[in-house]
């Protein structure tokens, strides 16, 4: 179960809500800065995976590669990305005030909440929604299970494939 936001988080949330129309200030107002995903973030990412990927999502581990991806980022981007899922969660609670954490909602409610972000008239909400959507989907479909489901055979290497396209390079046409 995700923990309830701390007082500091609530403060950040209030500040964030107040500046929703000014996305740049919003970013500054929405710490806590962290360099890796917390349990709340991972719960949100996992829930998003189910909503976005659909049936079979349990076979796909996106958290391990996502943690690895974070490790490759510059510090500033690391902290921005690492707190994106919980930022999404806190703001969802304010904007759709059920009080419940995203990860605890029913799948139908999660899908509706996500759609709400993706189609929001507020650019900032669309951006956050899209960023999470892209992050999760990219990691689902770079996973061998997702790739196989899409009919993508994956790397040639290790499969000892002969070149499919025997190209005749050398002379310009």
């Amino acid at each position: 179960m995700p923990t309830r936001p701390s007082r500091r988080q609530f403060f950040a949330l209030g500040a964030a809500a107040a500046v929703l129309v000014v996305p740049a200030s919003l970013r500054a107002a929405l710490p806590p800065a962290q360099s890796r995903f917390g349990a709340d973030d991972e719960a949100v990412l996992d829930a998003l995976k189910r909503v976005l990927y659909g049936p079979g999502a349990d076979e796909i581990d996106i958290l391990t590669p996502l943690r690895e991806t974070l490790g490759f980022l510059d510090e500033a981007q690391q902290s921005q990305l690492a707190s994106l899922p919980s930022t999404f969660d806190w703001l969802s609670r304010v904007l759709v005030p059920t009080g419940a954490a995203f990860a605890t909602l029913s799948e139908g409610a999660q899908a509706a909440a996500l759609e709400d972000w993706l189609t929001s008239p507020l650019p900032f909400r669309r951006q956050v929604g899209q960023a999470l959507r892209q992050l999760v989907l990219a990691h689902c479909y770079t996973h061998p299970v997702g790739q196989a489901a899409a009919g993508y055979a994956g790397p040639w290497l290790g499969r000892h494939l002969l070149p499919v396209h025997a190209l005749r390079f050398g002379e310009p046409e």
Binding site: L52, Q77, A111, T142, G154, P172
Partner: protein, 511 residues
């Protein structure tokens, strides 16, 4: 000689005649030319040296290893993905190999408006010839188009539109289709296997895994660079300082201004970081039910439609349409919908073609110094959004003309276009941030060349106006967006800068 920040002593210090920051097309060209001239050159590269045997063709792993910020970088407003390589060879390691000489109409404009006499087509021709020989540039025969690109060709030819196969810098290409994840077969003649080793074979040293954080300045001279050594996990493990008589910054159009601005350079033009051109792109996919297109198999970029280009064909839309292969991770982010609905669409992944629009933007963005990273201030101007819409419509027409049952765009709201009558759907598609998938593969401008500080950040030889020995040599030099894939232009401009350095600085000031 090759050194790595991962293994050198944690307080690394060298003195050389010339230090070059970055090893993409720009940096590697200058490094080679200066080494050829007998200078003691050191190339500093933030990324790692990744040999072909380590290109695993695994999308997730390679995005992390080869791209800056694991390929997740976007503009500050999140509107557009910013893809660029950070590895020995820079983006030339992950690019699609398309080669265009700078269009003549564009060169005439640059010569006239920016006072750049060295950039006439006649003067650049021998440079292009030399570069193309090193990069092994050849025109792709039509017979080698994969089905994706061939369907684009058939569509555009049915409509009577101008188009052609690309020239590519490849040698013995198998068409494995993993160009954007690094070529495991070393068929792609990237800077990493051409200009960089040509420089080291002439005595230049390559220091990898070393991020330059500051250009050291003293009065009207640059005295070297300093920064952080990083380990394999890109974490800091030490510091380095390179003292040099000559500093060349070639970090690409985002990191060059970021580094220079962060170093507090004097910029009388006041334009450093401005004029950030991006060639904004968006995907357009055709659906061919029952046909195995597998757009990612074979040569990913083979055919382009030049009909709507302003620089190639004086068309006011000002866009190229290029066939492109999209691996599943990227494709999944383009297809709209959630859960089962989207999953069903992706099960048809192999039946989809893909092309990308490459728009010659008319309103530039700006690079600045953000919190610990470059800030990228950019949004799609309404006039450019309008031209983008027209280009998407033309691309959709091409797919429909070659038998597509439907066309899918990168918009989250438009589901599909099944006939030319339905192209009107694009009017309500939405081009604001978060409403459409936009990507940028070509970063340009930000330290443009010009005959005076009123016009350019650097002189026609690439020198920062306020310094005797501080040069820029990369895509930052572009006075405007090139309108075609930029790599050959970058190699050529860097070659011009190398001449300038050898003429202006090397003779008199190097110790």
């Amino acid at each position: 000689m090759r050194l790595s920040g991962n293994t050198v002593e944690p307080e690394f210090h060298r003195r050389v005649q010339a230090v070059v920051v970055g090893t993409g097309p720009g940096g590697s060209t200058v490094a080679k030319r200066l080494a050829d001239a007998g200078l003691d050159v050191l190339m500093v590269e933030a990324g790692a040296y990744v040999p072909a045997r380590e290109f695993s063709q695994n999308e997730g792993e390679m995005m992390r290893k080869l791209y800056r910020e694991a390929g997740l970088r976007t503009t500050d407003n999140g509107a557009m993905a910013m893809l660029h390589g950070s590895v020995v060879g820079g983006s030339s390691v992950v690019n699609y190999l398309d080669c265009f000489r700078t269009p003549e109409t564009l060169l005439f404009d640059w010569v006239k408006r920016f006072g750049l006499p060295e950039l006439t087509p006649e003067k650049l021709r021998p440079r292009f010839e030399k570069i193309e020989e090193i990069l092994h540039v050849r025109k792709l025969p039509v017979a080698n188009l994969n089905l994706n690109n061939d369907l684009l060709r058939r569509g555009s030819e049915a409509l009577g539109w101008k188009g052609d196969t690309f020239h590519r810098n490849a040698k013995d290409c198998y068409g494995s289709g993993f160009c954007d994840l690094g070529c495991s077969y070393n068929a792609k003649q990237s800077a990493a296997i051409t200009f960089v080793p040509l420089a080291t074979s002439q005595g230049a040293t390559l220091l990898t895994d070393a991020r330059v954080e500051r250009v050291l300045l003293s009065g009207d001279r640059a005295t070297g660079v300093e920064g952080t050594l990083v380990d394999e996990a890109r974490q800091s493990r030490g510091r380095f300082r390179i003292d040099a008589d000559l500093v060349v910054v070639s970090g690409g159009a985002i990191h060059t201004p970021y580094l220079l601005l962060g170093s507090g350079v004097d910029d009388p033009s006041g334009q450093l970081g401005r004029n950030f051109w991006t060639h904004p792109g968006t995907p357009v996919c055709g659906w061919y039910p029952g046909q195995r297109v597998a757009n990612y198999e074979g040569i990913k970029q083979g055919w382009y439609i030049g009909e709507f280009s302003d620089v190639l064909n004086q068309n006011p839309i000002g866009a190229l349409i290029e066939g492109i292969g999209a691996p599943p991770g990227i494709t999944a982010t383009i297809f709209p919908g959630l859960g089962l609905e989207r999953q069903r669409q992706l099960q048809r992944y192999n039946e989809f073609t893909a092309a990308g629009i490459l728009l010659r933007d008319s309103v530039p963005g700006r690079i600045g110094v953000g919190k610990g990273r470059p800030s990228i201030d950019w949004s799609l101007a309404p006039a450019d959004a309008h031209r983008m819409k027209l280009a998407v419509a033309r691309c959709a027409e091409a797919w429909l003309a070659s038998g597509a049952a439907a066309v899918l765009t990168g918009h989250s709201r438009v589901t599909s276009i099944r006939s030319t009558a339905e192209l009107a759907k694009l009017d309500d598609a939405g081009w604001a941030s978060g409403e459409v998938a936009l990507f940028c593969f070509h970063q340009m401008g930000t330290a443009r060349m010009g005959h005076s500080p009123q016009v350019g950040v650097v002189s026609p030889t690439g020198r920062m106006w306020a310094y005797e020995n501080l040069y820029v040599a990369d895509s930052s030099l572009f006075p405007t967006a090139s309108g075609v894939n930029p790599q050959l232009t970058i190699y050529a401009l860097a070659d011009v800068v190398a001449d300038g350095i050898l003429h202006e600085a090397a003779g008199s000031q190097l110790h």
